[in-house]
């Protein structure tokens, strides 16, 4: 499949319209000098990945991503930024001053992964065939059935992890009261 064949498909225009802003927003997440801007660019990146999931006909996962990430996780991040009084405005020491080792490491990761993906797509595994699932919505009932049959034990384990995280988060973030303060709390 040549590039012009690829570009002739309308879905690929939608892909480019989502992917290019997504990569730019992700770049701003890791380079922005303003913590709040970085968190808000993460919203843009995650919204774009939800749009990609809809393009891949994974509607339920897309809306779970919007609810859990954009609805809860990013709000938690913004709370974290405000509570730790991280500098809200422009800030010069948000990143290390010598960044070339990080850039070299990530360039190496990018080179190895892209090279292996391209090498695989040259092989006969059908990586460059049109995706079969696109266009037909995934039935959410299939996901629900998977959760209570084949993936029941992982599902329960994840529920336990969430409970542990909830208790752990409260225990860690809670202020340690001195005995005198605890007595005061009893009287109130």
């Amino acid at each position: 499949m040549t590039f012009s064949d690829w570009l002739a498909e309308p879905a690929n225009w939608a892909f480019l319209a989502i992917a290019i802003p997504m990569v730019l927003a992700a770049l701003r997440v890791v380079t922005s000098r303003n913590v709040v801007h970085a968190a808000l660019f993460l919203v843009l990146t995650l919204a774009a990945s939800a749009a990609l999931f809809i393009l891949l006909s994974a509607e339920f996962v897309a809306w779970v991503l919007v609810l859990v990430y954009i609805g809860a996780v990013v709000v938690l991040f913004l709370f974290g930024i405000m509570i730790t009084r991280a500098p809200i405005g422009r800030e010069t020491n948000l990143s290390h001053t010598t960044r070339w080792p990080a850039a070299a490491a990530s360039a190496a990761v990018l080179a190895v992964t892209v090279w292996s993906v391209l090498a695989l797509s040259q092989g006969g595994d059908g990586f460059s065939d049109p995706l079969p699932a696109v266009g037909a919505a995934t039935d959410t009932a299939v996901l629900g059935e998977g959760f209570i049959t084949r993936y029941l034990i992982p599902f329960e384990a994840v529920g336990f992890v969430l409970l542990a995280a909830l208790i752990g988060g409260i225990t860690l973030a809670r202020k340690d009261l001195t005995p005198a303060e605890e007595d005061e709390g009893d009287q109130v």
């Binding site: 970085a38 990530s106 992964t113 460059s128 752990g168």
Partner: protein, 101 residues
């Protein structure tokens, strides 16, 4: 649409996450970079699900597991950052050299 374009996009996002993880000093922004890497993994999982097109949608189920674990990780991570900030009045990770000698 082909599988390769999604895998390359995931690779780019993951590499950006690695860059942020290594170059950031502020602990909150390090966690943001981790979220970027998890988003890249989710794109790969859902794209492979669209590729294999299994009847039970295994890839999407795994993506939901990843989203759940990420939510738990952010909760704990921010609680730890809060605790460190309270004790040291700083959320810069290179000032946390308590375990180095």
């Amino acid at each position: 649409m082909v599988l390769t374009q999604f895998l390359v996009l995931g690779a780019i996002l993951f590499a950006l996450g690695v860059y942020g993880l290594l170059s950031r000093r502020n602990a909150v922004t390090v966690l943001l970079s981790v979220e970027l890497m998890l988003a890249a993994v989710n794109i790969n999982l859902v794209a492979f699900e669209a590729f294999w097109n299994t009847a039970a949608a295994h890839g999407q189920i795994f993506a939901i597991f990843v989203i759940t674990i990420a939510a738990a990780e952010v909760g704990i991570g921010l609680a730890i950052i809060l605790l460190v900030f309270r004790n040291r009045a700083s959320s810069n990770i290179d000032e946390l050299d308590l375990m180095r000698w």
